[in-house]
Symmetry: C2
Subunit: 469 residues, 2 copies
């Protein structure tokens, strides 16, 4: 889009969202759902029919609380906020952004008020991404993480850094793409139903279970492009393995943002950064990228799992990632409640960066303007990233308990049992259950950070020895 | 899109088109237009208000004739026809295509019947692209062209072919892009409101007058990419110069397909293949592409204007182009009326190729499967390509009569007077007038092939001497 296109786009997106919302709140739909109560009761709660009616009703009941006009305004202000964010970054000037943040925050509060929340107002925004999840359930999980991660990271910062120089250098894109395709095809990507294309920002979009599109960006001087392919594959596999009967119904989607992220982070980190996985794929990498010919597998694996605090969330490793999220979760709650004024946000952001990660961002672009998410004051989404990490390990442990030692399987290039297990227990259900019900079915527990913390501690011990973990 | 995505896409596009059509035929819109009759009469016919109401009513009255269900079916069958067309080309098998053509033709006839045509049924499809134009007006124009072009082309085929070898060879894309950008920027492309990106099929799309997007494909072995930029620029300038007051109203579009094509063909051919234009730009081309250093300007200009019958419409030159269109127009009419059976279409296509262009297509892909347009039995669009060529010369002569000798201006790099004249007389009006009214205002005449034929004759005389023309 050329620069002056942003105004028309804001109007067009606002119109489309307003019209879409009018369709969502159509009284005829409400009447239909009323009529269908009987059908719902006649069917088993877990049946396709009952689930479809239940989920459609939930969507309808949430939608009717929000006037279409407000939906249009939110969309318009979001588009203008995005354009301002690009400009503020270019000029390194928070002042450009401030009036847009104020407008978007006012609209976000208006949105929250539509739900007349009795508990924490943050519950409203959280529910948009994590249906049924309450703020008071997230808080203790994040509190525990913070208590454990902050000292872990201090200890890491005092240790000898892992040498990851092998991951940088002349790494031709085409060769990286071949490596990524070899891995993805082994994992279940087929060229009839999947596509992989180039883009600036890696992404997965799915039009139907028969149309899964991944995008990534390969750079000639690092292998992030390969790792983002593995991440987006996890998102794609979820959509690919939805029950085909759900197609074109409200059930045909991931159950929540955290569950979706658990799948992408699972394939990226739990599979994709694992030594046994690379025992199988490293020869492919070495053949495609001759710079790795003399790098021992163990050196490569340690580099892939380097831990070191970074300014930017998207550059962060598995251990420090959680703190980037927690500081955002805390600031979102303060902004929504009014405890923090938007004018004080940059300094509040930096203060938490210093406290949690021991880093002072050198400028506003590396500080509070680093993420696009707040350009429209979208709240409630950041915590799902970290909840996804936590859930990924919970699901993983359950899968391994049922399928046997993954290392033995991965070394032999056997990934199909894991993919099939995920289909059976998670993917095919789509939105049929509430996220917490699904988690209970799969793992027998609620959200629990302990397995995730145990996983990180074992990883740190491997990399730095027992002193750190 | 991965191959198996086509079914979901067909359903999705059908749903969107059905819903969009439901909005177009909303009885509330009809009532509103009824109420506005008084407002329309209170305003001058050429006023913004009266034009807006008149054009919106015309759109509404056409739309209400078509049931939303049929609109959805047409869209679904079109998507499936497109997928079949790709497959038929790959397999060089018309049989793959035939059932889809039959389905689409049946739907097209159902569509035509909605309008209960009293005259030629082809009028209905023509009106979708050329509002108000009748088949019996196109027929004599095309008849005259055929009578004059067929012998011209026979004579050309017997002449020494123009040597266009200078247009082929090592022509790096990046250098071609720089040349194209230099030309476009001189013509009025600015980087705030326009964008030029890469694609497989060149195209112009406009989101608003402040957001004009051109796409093209540069190949390393020919300069078609530059010429398609000039073509798409013509489409873009039309949208760029619409009256900004029309934005987000039914008036904000080109008045007809032929008028739009007259602008793209005008900038591509009448400006872009002209000697005086290249007197100004040739040094830029020579600097960017050193292969042209030793090629005299006149040799380059002759190559750019080569005339030679080709199998494919999209490869054809200015002189032979019209016959590619005329044969399609004739076949469309025969298919719609039932005079020609779809099973006999491939041979009927080849027969006309032999008659009009002296060429027998070597296979079905080069024959009747060469164009995407018929994959959904879209009729009425092809003739507008040639009507656009004809109109472009009519407009051009009028502009030159008012602005003075273009060659003198172009040699000096002055293209702004032409662009401004087009804005004033054509572009800004959008859809406010019927195409034939606009043509009358601009040129004082109806569609007239004589200026176009005169232009071609002068061109042939330049290239081959008086014997041919």
């Amino acid at each position: 889009m050329p620069p002056t296109g942003f105004e028309a786009r804001a109007e067009q997106r606002a119109t489309i969202q307003r019209m879409a919302h009018e369709a969502r709140v159509d009284p005829a739909l409400g009447e239909l759902l009323e009529e269908l109560q009987e059908v719902e009761q006649q069917h088993d709660r877990e049946s396709f029919e009952a689930s479809l009616i239940r989920v459609a009703r939930r969507d309808y009941e949430k939608a009717v609380r929000v006037p279409p006009r407000l939906q249009g305004e939110l969309t318009r202000a979001a588009s203008l906020g995005y354009a301002a964010w690009l400009q503020a970054r270019e000029q390194k000037d928070y002042g450009v952004m401030l009036p847009h943040l104020e407008r978007n925050l006012a609209l976000r509060r208006e949105y929250v008020a539509c739900f007349e929340p009795e508990g924490d107002p943050y519950d409203v925004v959280l529910d948009d991404y994590e249906p049924g999840m309450k703020t008071h359930e997230v808080e203790p999980v994040f509190q525990l993480l913070k208590e454990r991660l902050v000292p872990m990271i201090r200890a890491v910062a005092e240790s000898e850094p892992v040498d990851d120089s092998c991951l940088h250098g002349r790494l031709p894109r085409d060769a990286q793409r071949r490596v990524a395709m070899t891995i993805l095809e082994r994992w279940g990507f087929d060229r009839l139903s999947w596509a992989l294309d180039d883009t600036v920002h890696p992404f997965m979009s799915s039009m139907s279970p028969a149309d899964i599109r991944l995008t990534t960006r390969f750079d000639d001087d690092n292998i992030h492009g390969i790792l983002s392919c593995l991440h987006e594959f996890g998102h794609g596999l979820y959509e690919r393995q939805l029950d085909p009967r759900y197609t074109r119904t409200p059930l045909a989607d991931g159950v929540s943002a955290a569950f979706h992220e658990s799948q992408s982070r699972g394939w990226e980190n739990l599979v994709g950064r694992r030594l046994s996985t690379w025992k199988f794929f490293y020869p492919v990498l070495q053949e495609a990228l001759p710079g790795f010919a003399d790098v021992p597998l163990e050196t490569f694996h340690r580099a892939l799992n380097k831990v070191q605090p970074t300014y930017r969330r998207v550059d962060s490793d598995e251990v420090t990632y959680g703190l980037h999220i927690i500081l955002r979760f805390e600031l979102e709650r303060e902004l929504l409640s009014g405890a923090l004024d938007l004018r004080d946000l940059p300094e509040a952001f930096d203060a938490k960066m210093r406290d949690y990660l021991g880093l002072q961002p050198p400028d506003i672009v590396t500080g509070v303007l680093q993420d696009v998410h707040w350009s429209d004051m979208t709240f409630g989404y950041f915590p799902t990233y970290q909840l996804g990490n936590i859930i990924s390990v919970q699901i993983w442990q359950r899968a391994e308990a049922e399928l046997g030692d993954f290392d033995e399987q991965f070394e032999r290039g056997e990934f199909a049992p894991l993919a099939e297990w995920l289909r059976e227990h998670v993917h095919r259900h789509g939105r049929a259950f509430e996220p917490k019900d699904l988690l209970q079915r799969v793992t027998g527990a609620g959200v629990d950070a302990a397995p995730y913390l145990g996983y990180l501690e074992r990883k740190l011990e491997e990399l730095f020895g027992a002193a750190v973990a």
